[in-house]
Symmetry: C2
Subunit: 296 residues, 2 copies
C-alpha cells in the first residue's frame, strides 16, 4: 500500500529520469521506481537544445531544479495534503483526507473510517445509512490559445498566485465535457471566444488529486479582455513567455512542451505525471519531477 520512489542525483540539478511502472504484487497497488541520469543543461526553464521531445524513447521524465518560491495551485486541495509530506506518503495522505469526512452528506449521520469489504482503502462509511463517501481526483480544464504565433496568458487577480501568469483554466463541472469546460473557463477568465483545435496535454498531479487537461485553441474573434479573476490578459511571443512569473507547475510544463513542439514543427499529445519533490512547498512551482512522459 505504498509508492517507493528512488531519486538519484543532486537535488538542485536537472536531469532526465528513467521510469518504470510496476504493479505491487498482491496488493494491486503501483510501485514506482525512478532513477535519474544527470543532464548538463539547466532546466530553470526547459531547454530548447536538449528537448524532452527530441528524445527517442516515448517514456521520458524530466526533473527540475528547485528554486523560487512563488505560486501555488489555483484550486483548493481536495486531498488536504500538507505542504511538506513526502511522495512516499501518498496512501497516508489519501487516508488523511478521508479522515476529514466526519458526516454523511445524504443523511447527516456520523461516519466511521474503515476499509469496506472487498476494497483496499480506508473510506468514510456512514454509521446510520451505510453509504460510502468516495473521493476522487478532479480535472482542471484549460486552453492554450494560439494567435499570430503568440499565446494568450492571464495575470491572476485572485489568490493563490496573485499577480502571476496562467493559461485560462479551472475545474471541470458535471454536465459539461472537458472541451466545453475549457471554453467556459477561457470565456470567464479572458472573455475570449475560442474554438478547440486539438487535445494537447494531460498532466496528473497525484499529491493534490488534480489532473490538468489542456487543449490547443484559437480565437474565433481577435478579442479578449480580463474577466473578474484576471487583472490582465496578454498575447506573448514564445521568446517572451514569462517563465519566471508563472502561477503553476502545470502551466510551466504545458508551455515548455508547447515551445518544444513548435520548434519541432509538430504538435503531439502529451501525458505525464507531475510529482512534487519530497520536502518542498506546493507553492514552489519548480520543485517537481515530470514522470512517465508519453506522447502520441
Amino acid at each position: 500500500m505504498h509508492k517507493a520512489i528512488q531519486i538519484l542525483g543532486g537535488c538542485c540539478s536537472s536531469g532526465f529520469v528513467s521510469h518504470r511502472w510496476k504493479p505491487h504484487t498482491g496488493s494491486g497497488l503501483p510501485f514506482v521506481s525512478i532513477s535519474a541520469k544527470p543532464l548538463s543543461s539547466s532546466l530553470s526553464r526547459l531547454p530548447s537544445n536538449s528537448s524532452l521531445l527530441a528524445m527517442s524513447s516515448a517514456r521520458l521524465s524530466s526533473r527540475f531544479g528547485a528554486f523560487r518560491s512563488r505560486a501555488g495551485h489555483s484550486e483548493s486541495n481536495p486531498v488536504g495534503a500538507s505542504s511538506s509530506s513526502s511522495s512516499s506518503s501518498v496512501a497516508v495522505q489519501a487516508s488523511g483526507s478521508v479522515l476529514k469526512i466526519n458526516f454523511c452528506q445524504w443523511c447527516g449521520g456520523p461516519t466511521k473510517h474503515e476499509i469496506p469489504e472487498g476494497e483496499e482503502k480506508i473510506r468514510a462509511i456512514c454509521t446510520v445509512c451505510g453509504k460510502i463517501t468516495y473521493q476522487n481526483p478532479k480535472m482542471v480544464v484549460g486552453c492554450l490559445i494560439e494567435h499570430d504565433n503568440k499565446v494568450l496568458l492571464c495575470k491572476r487577480k485572485i489568490q493563490p498566485s496573485y499577480g502571476l501568469w496562467t493559461l485560462p483554466a479551472g475545474y471541470m463541472e458535471i454536465g459539461e465535457s472537458a472541451a466545453e469546460g475549457a471554453i467556459r473557463e477561457t470565456w470567464e477568465e479572458a472573455t475570449a471566444d475560442v474554438e478547440i483545435v486539438s487535445p494537447f496535454a494531460q498532466l496528473d498531479i497525484p499529491r493534490i488529486g488534480q489532473t490538468y487537461i489542456i487543449f490547443l485553441a484559437k480565437l474565433k474573434k481577435p478579442h479578449f479582455a480580463p474577466g473578474p479573476e484576471s487583472s490582465e490578459c496578454q498575447l506573448f511571443a514564445l521568446d517572451d513567455i514569462p517563465f519566471n512569473s508563472l502561477a503553476f507547475s502545470s502551466m510551466l510544463v504545458t508551455l515548455n512542451l508547447y515551445v518544444e513542439d513548435v520548434k519541432a514543427g509538430r504538435f503531439k499529445f502529451h501525458y505525464g505525471t507531475i510529482n512534487k519533490r519530497p520536502g518542498t512547498s506546493p507553492s514552489d512551482i519548480h520543485a517537481f519531477t515530470l514522470d512517465g512522459h508519453l506522447q502520441s
Copy 2:
C-alpha cells in the same frame, strides 16, 4: 444556462455530424450546435470502410443508431441523473445532484442550496460553517492491452452489465496518476502485469459526470487470469471482438477507434464526447452520439 442541441436525420441511421462549440455570450456557459449529415454505412459497429479516422477534418463526430438494450455503466452515477432525461437538461441534472447533498460532510450542519456569490451554479452550502460541497466529474482509467495482434477483454462478474465484456478499467483514486490507476485496475480485474505504451483516448460522458482515460498497454508477462470482478479474461483477434456483447458505450467507442487505427497503420490520441441520445436508457450502449471527435 443550457445546452441547445439540434440533431437532424433519422434516429436509427448512422451519420457524421459537424460540431461547433460556442460559449453562450454573457453566461460563459457553452452552447453546442450539432447538425448531422447522413452516412450510408451501418454503425452497428463502426465501419471499417467509412472510417472516422480517414476523414480529413480533425473535427469529426459520429452518430450511432440505437438498438440493443443490454448493459449500463460500471460505476455509480455521480450526478444522479435519471434514466430518461434529455441532453438539454444538463443544468437541471447538475442541480438535482446538488440537491441530494443535505448535510455538510465536515461539520454535519444542514445545507442550503443557492448560487454562491461570484458563481453561476447552485451549490450545497453549509448553513453552519459556510463550506461549499463541490461535485466534479470522475475519471475512469483503463488499459487496452495488445498481445499477439489481439486485445484483452474481461467478462464482468458483477452488476451492472453482468456477463458482458469490457476493457479493464475503474475509478482513478486520489494519490495515483491515471496511468498508475489503469495499471492497478488491470491487475485487479485481469491479474495482468502491464506496461503503459501510450495514451489512447479521452472520452467524456457529461450526462453521468464521467471521463474515460484509456491507455494502450502491453503484457509484461504472458499471463492473465480473472480477478474477483471478472468471470473470464480472454484475448480477442480484432475480427472476433464481441461488439454485440460489450458492457459500455465507452468501450464500444474505444475498441472501434482502435480497430480503425490498426487498419490505418497508426495510433492516434482520440478525444471525444459521448452524449446519450435524448429519451434513451443509459443501459442502451448504442444510443449515443460521439461528438467533437479530435485526434492528435
